[in-house]
């Protein structure tokens, strides 16, 4: 039996090796990248070129520009996939009730708790910095939200899951998450609605002015570059991801504390 398993591993390696050998000219990095990638690099911040400026995002960060503008609808549906996963988790754990227990005497020592109280705002600041500078530096809404989601995890480990559940329950996080998603949806159609009101053609998910659709989101506010919709998307995605992760941790660790209501 062991021979079969080893043979399977060797066969997989050989098959993938064959695939990579056939496609090696695509996989080996050359001094030039693909034309599409080069266009994205050239167009991500380009108010100079007379043709490319019709497609620019005005964001120096190429990856965020692709994620939220060039392929913005893709990311919108990706966010809804994550939302549906949380909804699925809530549906699967429906009918589980927390056992009535006191949080007294749970968690780690006073030293650890005090240090956590000091570091939690710092983590929040780092996460907000990563998320809100997503159009300038590496990072973005998802990464910033993941950093912020460390705080509820720390609170669960160091205080107790009941400590967190008493202050911010699943419904609260769900409301926060829905607010984030609502902002994402509203930012997506903001220029479209403005176009309807002003009687000017405009697109859904439009960011910068396009041929025939002259409206645009603000590129900068008081000299600070915000790249139009990108900053709003990053802010909303940060809130949504942080609360989504918190819901996941909270349910996952609350079920340890629950008993079944009725028959299991």
């Amino acid at each position: 039996m062991r021979i079969v398993e080893i043979a399977v591993i060797i066969l997989i390696v050989l098959a993938f090796g064959l695939l990579i050998t056939v496609a090696f000219s695509y996989i080996a990095p050359g001094t030039r990248i693909r034309p599409l990638g080069e266009f994205y690099l050239y167009a991500t911040y380009n108010p100079y070129d007379p043709i490319v400026r019709l497609f620019t995002v005005m964001s120096p960060e190429g990856v965020t520009a692709i994620v939220w503008d060039f392929r913005g609808l893709d990311t919108l549906f990706e966010t809804s996939v994550f939302y549906l996963a949380i909804i699925g988790a809530l549906a699967l754990t429906r009918g589980l009730m927390p056992a009535p227990r006191s949080e007294e005497g749970q968690g780690l020592s006073v030293i650890v708790k005090s240090v956590t109280k000091i570091t939690a705002p710092m983590i929040l600041a780092v996460g907000a910095s990563v998320g809100l500078h997503g159009h300038l530096t590496p990072g973005g809404g998802f990464q910033g939200g993941s950093v912020i989601a460390v705080i509820p995890m720390l609170m669960i480990v160091i205080f107790s899951v009941l400590f967190l559940a008493k202050r911010m329950n699943v419904t609260g996080f769900l409301i926060l998450r829905s607010i984030g998603l609502a902002i994402i949806g509203f930012t997506g159609v903001a220029l479209f609605i403005a176009g309807l009101v002003l009687g000017v053609p405009a697109w859904v998910f439009q960011n910068m002015p396009k041929p025939g659709a002259p409206l645009s989101m603000p590129v900068e506010v008081h000299g600070a570059l915000i790249s139009g919709t990108l900053w709003f998307f990053n802010l909303a995605e940060m809130v949504a991801v942080a609360s989504g992760f918190s819901i996941a941790f909270l349910i996952l660790l609350l079920v340890k504390e629950v008993e079944f209501r009725g028959k299991s």
Partner: protein, 136 residues
């Protein structure tokens, strides 16, 4: 072939070979490990290896021994700076696709974990052989 050229190609081959070994080991874990949690861990290793391979596809070779490829973030926003940036930056498209893949992989993992929890509630075990024996 020059020694540095050979060394570069050799190191690239080592990286790709180890990623392939990673893929093979994770597929082995998905197929043959009987425990549900280990299957989930294997799936996440598989998706991370695939993402790393995708990042490698978008990489750019060093233009000269003194000029490394730039990350996909423009720092000099003048006209010349942007034109130079388009010639030295790495491909941002695979990175954006990998970001999407990571989020979706996370959602799938989350769903699998809750599914495993319900599996445990019903069968009182996560061993796949036991579950097959209990209910077809």
């Amino acid at each position: 072939m020059e020694p540095t050229e050979f060394l570069n190609l050799y190191l690239l081959s080592v990286t790709i070979a180890s990623l392939l070994a990673n893929v093979a080991i994770s597929l082995y874990g998905v197929f043959y490990k009987p425990h549900y949690t280990k299957k989930i861990i294997a799936v996440s290793i598989l998706s991370d290896s695939a993402n790393t391979i995708a990042i490698f596809i978008g990489f750019r070779r060093w233009l000269s021994p003194s000029q490394p490829p730039s990350v996909a973030i423009a720092t000099n926003l003048s006209r010349e700076g942007i034109e130079k940036f388009a010639n030295v930056g790495v491909d941002p498209l695979p990175q954006a696709l990998v970001l999407t893949a990571i989020v979706i992989g996370l959602a799938v993992t989350l769903f699998l974990i809750y599914l495993g929890y319900m599996l445990y509630c019903h069968y009182k075990t996560l061993d796949m052989r036991e579950i097959r024996r209990l209910k077809g």
